[in-house]
Symmetry: C2
């Protein structure tokens, strides 16, 4: 698909706000929720809690805890009656997206959700280029699986995004209109 005409200028306007991709997605999800377009949330960071203090007359304080590896992608929810599941990744690379940005269990989770009929994808941002793409999980899985081949690549070339992925434009409301790109998958 063609990039919208204002793609780059929007990106420049956006860049000035200095948000992370996660913040941009959360803001967009708030817009979608408030306008009854979709219900999509980021899952909390999984933490293993070891020690909690319960001070008198104030809130419980977690005093020892560890980050756990998530067993799924970060975002899921419902849009137009369909189950939506995705993860967001940023890279500073300018010519390729290294596959080790994804974890095995995230790819397996997408594989499982696809089998159940879910709409699964990655939202991948080339931060240096200021370009954001929606990459279908089936394409991601294709690249993931070929890593095991004799001459398998450990990354997805930028050219593949330009050919196969759907560019996501920056706007004002929502910040990133990624459900417009999802509409092209449904």
């Amino acid at each position: 698909p063609e990039k919208p005409a204002n793609y780059n200028s929007s990106l420049i306007r956006h860049g000035g706000r200095g948000m992370t991709l996660e913040q941009e997605i959360n803001e967009s999800n708030q817009y979608y929720l408030a306008h009854e377009i979709a219900v999509i949330h980021k899952k909390p960071t999984p933490v293993q809690i070891v020690k909690v203090d319960y001070p008198k007359r104030s809130a419980a304080v977690i005093r020892e805890a560890y980050f756990r590896r998530p067993s799924t992608t970060d975002y899921n929810g419902i849009y137009r009656g369909r189950y939506i599941d995705f993860d967001a990744k940023e890279t500073k690379e300018t010519t390729r997206f290294p596959l080790d940005n994804f974890h095995e269990h995230q790819v397996e989770h997408m594989r499982s959700c696809l089998k159940q009929g879910g709409i699964c994808f990655g939202l991948i941002k080339f931060v240096t280029l200021d370009q954001l793409y929606l990459l279908k999980a089936s394409d991601l899985i294709h690249y993931w699986d070929q890593q095991g081949d004799p001459h398998g690549r450990k990354s997805i070339p930028l050219a593949a995004f330009q050919q196969q992925a759907i560019p996501v434009a920056y706007r004002l409301n929502p910040t990133i209109a990624y459900l417009d790109a999802v509409d092209q998958l449904i």
Copy 2:
């Protein structure tokens, strides 16, 4: 719907294992995932992280964090192409389920998901009675909303569960076959 003939005996067998409802659901979800029946996960407990230590040569330790109020229900995922969303609650009451077991934002979340075409419900266990029910979100919302009426009740009577909800049986695999009850909603 009628209770299965072995309902009570199963419950007794089950009771001996001493799991919480959350553990029972997690175990059932693992079964459903392994058998490619559904992909449903509990969301991590939301925690606001304030202070993290990064010791040399070992894992990061969270030294100060606080429990945050969840903005959604605890469980969601996909089953037979449908978006599934629910919360689980236990009560020791024997004649009624107090509505204050749910939080306003959880009920609002279910309302939003229903509007998008999701399958939403509560899994509610009367632990003293050893009875587990699936209550449709639309029924839950009906009771939630009538709390504001002049003679509004602050609880749902057990009789209403016996009449409107779907009993969920304990089994071996999965521990609780709650998707059998979901089949009656689809």
